[in-house]
């Protein structure tokens, strides 16, 4: 039996991005002793890369905005698959969550009368995104980080210890959520720096680990996005919801190769940038789908007038939801009208004076200048779709953020499913983090306090099993004397597979092939070997992350194969239209073998079982916010009658 350090906490938060930190703040303020575990240094989480802003109907710039309009936009963006109660809570609570940040020291860009400024974004009817230039995510993470420090300062004054009630375990990775019977009892983790294992015993665990982008070759996501939380929840017995919906952001850098996929913020279009093909044509006018026809401009003249006179003109089609724009770019490139490096042109240089570009889009100016030798004030950028966000995630209760079926497990942020339906609107992720991070922290603290003395116990056998699993790469199995597999090579093959076979446009045969390839990779990953020792060893870390990426990739591929329609972030070439009959269908992924045996090699069966579920009907007063004519486009016949 291994001797492993144990500590006791009330709430453990896995992940220190926006959702994790907001959850930790809430749990601590509600009296729970709270630990945060994150893979990177404190303050480096992927949230720093969010650029455009936080969507919240504060109505600072357009007085007509309110939560109902925001709710409507969110449901339209998600093609009505959203867990509607989450979309409602999100729209109602987002303004308070933004204002609260100001009381913690955040400094947003201002309107002329000194309020928080708000900018236009795709799919949002009014200017709605609170922002700081194009570095809003950095402001968000720093504000939450500094709020945590201020709580620690309070604790220090009272107890003499900064970490007595709120501690950040940075550069540590959780590999298992532990349970006693059905209930959460803690987490098993390793310290990246030393390689030492430790256990945090806690009855409530909030998963806030973000997304899965590192399973794809072209992605805007950082190394941390290996689907850890998705996999932890699956392994703990919780289902994942609608994993087929993966957002490809329409505008990633395409050149040079080493930066391919890095994000170009949607603010470029929100502030007036336009998309052109190699013929110089603003092609988005050709790609406005029927459901959005009445809301978007039909001519360049009308689109251009909208920026100054939104009351009397319709918005430019460059500001359609991201799934529409990404598919349009893909089609243009395929039709041979792409830019030299396989993207299209995104131009602000002819739309705004150079000083305005530098002031409003400083990071973009810097990013292109430094990484691509392109001066965006003088020439167009080349951009193309990049894997950006997963709408699917842990199935949760809307109000409490509790994961289904596993008492004590909570999830918030990108790792949680439902909120964004089949496609997320830009700006809705930062507000999602704040609204549901807070709710997860609140309910985790409440749940933990409610257990009092009856806390689940961490059993030694589970710790031993988790330790053995984590050490396996150091004694990789090689039955036929074959050399161990290189984890970096396996990762590259996985990324290529997902990119080519389960990417932005999907086909049945390719996805079936992907499942076979994933099964093969899964077997080979058992033989992933590692050189060196446990101290800060990236090869070992990657070998362990592979388990998670393979699990999550299978969920994506299997659900994508099942859903025979195109909707939001799921486009089937063989089923190109949105089907109303699929509107109320959720796909749930569960672990096929709940005992945790992970090497099932049969692609037919694999590791994941898929279940269909009918969604809860949308509440009548929320449905009443839409016109009948619009609902007819989305809802199935029987839903309309009720």
């Amino acid at each position: 039996m291994s001797v492993v350090d144990r500590q006791e906490w009330d709430v453990v938060v896995v992940g220190a991005g926006g959702a994790g930190l907001r959850a930790a703040i809430e749990a601590r303020e509600r009296g729970a002793r709270t630990a945060v575990i994150c893979k990177s240094l404190f303050g480096k989480a992927h949230t720093v890369m969010a650029e455009g802003g936080i969507a919240a109907a504060m109505a600072n710039v357009n007085e007509h905005d309110n939560w109902q309009v925001h709710f409507r936009d969110t449901m339209r963006g998600g093609k009505f698959l959203n867990q509607w109660r989450m979309a409602e809570l999100h729209a109602r609570e987002a303004p308070d969550r933004v204002w609260e940040l100001e009381t913690w020291g955040a400094l947003f860009d201002r309107t002329k009368d000194g309020r928080i400024s708000q900018r236009n974004f795709g799919g949002h009817e009014y200017p709605r995104l609170a922002h700081v230039g194009d570095r809003t995510g950095l402001e968000l993470i720093r504000t939450l980080q500094q709020k945590i420090v201020s709580l620690q300062q309070e604790d220090f004054k009272e107890t003499g210890d900064y970490e007595s009630r709120l501690k950040v375990f940075q550069e540590c990775t959780v590999t298992r959520v532990l349970k006693q019977d059905e209930k959460v009892s803690g987490v098993f983790a390793y310290d990246r720096e030393t390689g030492r294992f430790f256990v945090l015993e806690a009855p409530a665990v909030v998963i806030a680990t973000g997304g899965i982008g590192k399973s794809f070759k072209v992605t805007s996501n950082s190394w941390e996005y290996t689907g850890d939380g998705h996999a932890l929840a699956l392994l703990a017995g919780a289902p994942l919801l609608n994993m087929e919906f993966v957002q490809f952001h329409p505008t990633g850098m395409v050149w040079p190769p080493s930066v391919k996929g890095i994000l170009v913020t949607e603010s470029v279009r929100g502030d007036g940038g336009v998309l052109r093909n190699s013929d110089g044509k603003r092609f988005m006018f050709d790609y406005v789908p029927d459901v959005f026809k009445e809301k978007y401009a039909e001519s360049e003249e009308e689109a251009d007038r909208w920026y100054d006179d939104p009351e009397n003109n319709r918005r430019p089609p460059e500001l359609l939801p991201r799934d529409e724009v990404a598919r349009a770019i893909n089609s243009e490139v395929k039709a041979g009208r792409g830019s030299p490096h396989g993207g299209v042109f995104l131009d602000v240089s002819t739309r705004m004076p150079a000083e305005v570009i530098k002031r409003r889009l400083p990071s973009m100016y810097h990013q292109f200048k430094e990484l691509a030798d392109v001066d965006i004030t003088a020439e167009a950028m080349e951009v193309g779709p990049t894997c950006h966000y997963v709408m699917g995630g842990i199935a949760v209760d809307s109000d409490s953020a509790a994961a289904r079926g596993v008492p004590g497990l909570f999830a918030a942020g990108e790792v949680a499913g439902g909120m964004h339906g089949s496609n997320r609107l830009g700006g809705n992720s930062l507000s999602d983090l704040l609204v549901f991070g807070r709710r997860a922290g609140w309910h985790a603290a409440e749940y933990s306090a409610g257990l009092a003395g009856g806390r689940p116990v961490v059993e030694d056998a589970q710790i031993d099993a988790a330790a053995a699993e984590a050490l396996r790469p150091f004694s990789a199995e090689s039955p036929d004397e074959a050399a161990p597999e290189n984890p970096y090579t396996l990762h590259q093959e996985l990324q290529q597979t997902m990119n080519d076979l389960v990417g932005i446009i999907r086909r049945e045969g390719e996805m079936a092939h992907a499942l076979e390839k994933l099964a093969e990779l899964r077997v080979r990953a058992r033989r992933a070997g590692v050189e060196g020792h446990r101290q800060f060893n990236p090869g070992w870390h990657l070998a362990l992350d592979l388990r998670n990426m393979l699990l999550v990739s299978e969920c994506v591929a299997r659900a994508a194969l099942e859903r025979t329609e195109s909707r939001g972030g799921h486009t089937r070439e063989d089923h190109p239209t949105m089907e109303r009959s699929w509107r109320n269908v959720n796909l749930l992924c569960r672990l096929a073998d709940p005992t945790g045996g992970l090497a099932a090699t049969d692609p037919e069966r694999g590791q994941i079982d898929l279940v269909r579920e009918t969604t809860e009907p949308i509440r009548p007063d929320l449905l009443a916010l839409f016109d009948k004519e619009e609902l007819v486009k989305y809802l199935a016949e029987e839903e309309l009658y009720e």
């Binding site: 009381t103 000194g114 700081v132 570095r135 402001e139 040079p256 190769p257």
Partner: protein, 255 residues
């Protein structure tokens, strides 16, 4: 697209010590130093320890010294070096090594805790804050900081003087004091906290002799010395005479 083979020297070792290790490695068009480090991991040194995250100059994780100069590896393009040049990558010198290119930056997190947080004004509730853009510009500049700690690494007050670390917060956290001091609604003064005084008395502002090394290495282009440290010294001056303030104002006017 052209590729070539570059020569690299990368420091490898741990708390016990270490040395530069030679590598020959492929370089392609448009790549940055971090790409090359990743290629070494994938092909020659799978356990080479390095921190990184966003690979877009936004998170400040991949700080190292490249040919002796503190830089972000993800924002250092290979094209700034000649093909013949041997490129040397070493960990940040001012902080203790953990392994290879990874250092213990805990010093910075300790210092962050010693700066009292923003004090919200009592009379204003959430949503009632009104601030003019020109009044938040200055503090916003400082909030561009990505905490890469290159300024902390290069500042010679601590770089070659371990003993100063106790008393000196470093440019990053003196700038944090300045940011809060210039925040239009910070109510520290009303609560009895004089931020200018703490800069001098608790965070070692007096150690700074405005050589501007921090500004030079800042990947965000923040004018740390001119816009944060010198004004902070000027604001603190009515409490203590500091000859460098006088000198600083002269230098600033000249440039």
């Amino acid at each position: 697209m052209s590729s070539y083979e570059a020569r690299f020297k990368v420091w490898r070792g741990d708390t016990e010590g270490g040395d530069l290790e030679d590598f020959k490695v492929e370089v392609n068009d448009g790549e940055v130093v971090l790409d090359i480090i990743h290629r070494l991991q994938a092909t020659q040194a799978p356990d080479l320890a390095v921190r990184w995250n966003c690979k877009a100059g936004k998170c400040g994780s991949c700080s190292a010294e490249i040919n002796g100069r503190p830089r972000l590896m993800c924002m250092t393009r290979m094209s700034v070096f000649s093909r013949e040049e041997t490129i040397t990558v070493t960990p940040l010198r001012a902080f203790p090594v953990i392994r290879d290119l990874v250092t213990d930056v805990g010093f910075n997190y300790q210092k962050a805790r010693q700066v009292p947080a923003f004090v919200p004004p009592k009379e204003l509730g959430p949503g009632e804050y009104r601030m003019m853009q020109e009044d938040v510009d200055r503090s916003q500049e400082f909030r561009k900081c990505i905490e890469c700690f290159l300024c902390q690494d290069t500042c010679h007050v601590v770089r070659d003087h371990e003993e100063n670390k106790q008393a000196f917060a470093g440019p990053r956290f003196l700038m944090r004091v300045a940011e809060l001091d210039m925040h239009p609604l910070d109510a520290a003064a009303e609560s009895g906290l004089d931020r200018k005084a703490t800069a001098q008395d608790e965070h070692g502002l007096g150690y700074c002799n405005i050589t501007k090394c921090c500004t030079e290495v800042c990947p965000e282009g923040i004018k740390i010395t001119d816009n944060a440290l010198i004004p902070l010294k000027e604001r603190a001056v009515d409490r203590k005479y500091d000859p460098l303030v006088w000198l600083g104002s002269k230098i600033r006017r000249r440039s």
